[in-house]
């Protein structure tokens, strides 16, 4: 019979209590005159949501999985999940680029940004991303005008990015603004490269096309984010790494795709229309 005179609980266990054992005997008895000390230790145990309490079931379901890696703590579950998400996200971006015809900043940038969004939350993450790219793109503008060589220019942008991120983190921690602390969750180098590309695109193709590319990148980020937020996706990928082979085969098919991209269907519409109105 559970009984807690101190906090006034009787005949039930409150939700915030942890049951250690059952029975009438004491857990620990202390003989007088003996030096004795004890403590409790709580440690995190990785588990798979899809399966019942014990993950040994994993062996029964699938012959080969990455579960062993997680269980033996060789690699944290989170890092493994990120690794496995990269090819999947890459495939999504490849589809968007080669079948839809979207323009994005690089192939893996949208994937990595989407992954950071899992930490920061979607809306604030997107806003932070935009802010970082635009801000660093703007403050590195004077250095463009100096006619510097490309590589040192990139180093300057990277330094500016690091300063902005560190300052944001500092301000966030000092004034208790939690979303500012999320700044350091973004992949710095990749952000710098995209800020750099964005400001270069503005110069080369004009503001209109550059913002178009930026918006399409954000769209790709959103789609990757939706995909990554699918519940149990992490467990599925860890339990069934065969998915990676599937991704490779789909990519091989995609690699031979010669059809028109959806954006090209619009571009070439005067030629594709069976009864052209332009002639």
């Amino acid at each position: 019979m559970p009984f807690d005179a101190l906090n006034g609980h009787f005949a039930y266990i409150p939700a915030n209590y942890l049951e250690l054992y059952e029975g009438d005997v004491f857990l620990v008895t202390h003989t007088p005159g003996i030096q004795f000390d004890y403590s409790y230790e709580i440690s995190k145990q990785a588990a798979i949501g899809l399966l019942d309490e014990d993950s040994s079931e994993a062996k029964r379901i699938t012959a080969f999985s990455f579960w062993g890696l997680v269980k033996s703590k060789t690699i944290p579950k989170k890092s493994l999940f990120l690794l496995l998400l990269l090819p999947l996200g890459g495939l999504v971006v490849a589809l968007l680029r080669n079948v839809v015809g979207m323009r994005t900043f690089g192939v893996f940038l949208p994937v990595l940004i989407a992954f950071s969004l899992l930490e920061t939350g979607f809306v604030s993450g997107i806003l932070l991303f935009l802010f970082l790219i635009l801000f660093v793109g703007t403050i590195s503008r004077p250095f463009d005008a100096m006619g510097l060589l490309h590589t040192p220019k990139i180093v300057i942008s990277l330094t500016l990015m690091v300063i902005v991120m560190a300052a944001g983190h500092y301000l966030g921690a000092n004034y208790g603004i939690s979303w500012l602390g999320a700044l350091t969750l973004f992949p710095t180098v990749i952000l710098t490269v995209s800020a750099e590309r964005f400001s270069k695109l503005i110069v080369e193709d004009g503001f209109h096309k550059a913002t178009g590319t930026l918006l399409q990148t954000l769209l790709a980020v959103g789609l990757c984010f939706l995909l990554f937020s699918i519940e149990q996706l992490d467990n599925l990928l860890i339990l069934f790494p065969e998915v990676l082979l599937l991704i490779m085969s789909i990519s091989m098919l995609l690699g031979r795709y010669v059809g028109l991209r959806w954006t090209e269907i619009i571009r070439f519409s005067p030629l594709l229309n069976p009864n052209p109105k332009y002639t």
């Binding site: 080669n98 015809g101 006619g147 060589l149 490309h150 590589t151 080369e204 031979r256 795709y257 010669v258 059809g259 028109l260 991209r261 959806w262 090209e264 269907i265 571009r267 070439f268 005067p270 030629l271 594709l272 069976p274 052209p276 332009y278 002639t279």
Partner: protein, 290 residues
């Protein structure tokens, strides 16, 4: 909806970027030969070696220390073009003409020698080519044939001929407009004019949105106009295609007032807008070769 997106009617055989890359560029152009087209100096050396008509090369400056000495030797010319060997989008190209009093001028303004040296230094340090260094090419200035002035009298218009295994497939004439800042590229607000390959005649004018039969800045009808030197240009394109180890190329030609057709440059990844200009897909040109 998905089936309509995947089964697009394409009776004219329009080639998209995917098909261009997989079926035209990868099997026909080896990557190690790309530099022959991307580097204008290498391309010109190859053209000169095969005695193919192109602008005369006055100088190739590859070191900053050579600039002054080379510039002295260039003084005997009355007009010249300075361009980066690996520039893109027409950046860094400067046309210089000698005025009566012996000074150099560019688009009507006198340019002091110091400024020219600075420009060449910029080219050599790779400012226009996304590379750590580049080479500066100085060549003869082309004077456009009077034929072009009848359509639009500014900038340097050029013909683009697409060749596959030495056969010309499709061609267009690219012309600057009042909005294009002297550039003839379609995406820089220039216009493309279709070419009837068999008859050697100009067809419709395409400005990126609409078709018409005259240049946007002139009333003169373009449609049906005969192109001067057309057989010679086709021959020149074939000869160029044979000289390069690249089987799918976009060859750019200009017509000089006195010397006739000249090769300007070659491209390994020619754009696909030419199909819109000609109202014809590239695949359908394969079926009925010229």
């Amino acid at each position: 909806m998905l089936t309509t997106l995947f089964k697009v009617q394409n009776p004219k055989g329009v080639v998209g970027l995917n098909r261009r890359n997989i079926e035209f560029i990868y099997p026909h152009n080896q990557r190690r030969h790309y530099t022959l087209a991307d580097d204008k100096v290498k391309a010109k050396m190859l053209l000169h070696r095969h005695n193919i008509a192109c602008a005369e090369t006055y100088a190739v400056i590859s070191r900053i220390s050579q600039i002054k000495a080379q510039w002295q030797q260039l003084q005997l010319h009355s007009a010249l073009v300075i361009k980066p060997a690996m520039g893109c989008g027409g950046d860094g190209i400067k046309i210089l003409k000698k005025t009566r009093d012996g000074n150099w001028s560019s688009s009507g303004k006198t340019v002091p020698d110091a400024q020219i040296f600075q420009h060449i230094t910029r080219i050599i340090s790779g400012l226009f080519s996304m590379a750590s260094n580049d080479v500066c090419l100085v060549e003869e200035c082309i004077v456009p044939h009077p034929f072009f002035a009848e359509i639009y009298d500014e900038g340097v218009p050029d013909f683009r001929i697409i060749t596959l295994k030495g056969n010309p497939l499709m061609a267009m004439l690219r012309m600057p407009t009042s909005k294009s800042d002297g550039k003839a590229n379609l995406h820089q607000k220039g216009v493309g004019i279709g070419v009837d390959m068999k008859e050697g005649r100009l067809t419709q004018v395409y400005d990126g949105k609409r078709y018409s039969d005259h240049h946007p800045d002139s009333e003169n009808r373009v449609f049906g106009r005969n192109i001067p030197f057309w057989p010679r240009m086709l021959q020149l394109a074939r000869k160029t295609a044979q000289a390069f180890p690249l089987d799918y190329m976009g060859i750019d030609l200009v017509i000089d007032a006195t010397k006739g057709p000249q090769i300007m440059e070659v491209n390994v990844r020619p754009g696909l807008g030419i199909q819109l200009v000609n109202k014809c897909g590239l695949l359908s040109t394969l079926k009925r070769p010229l």
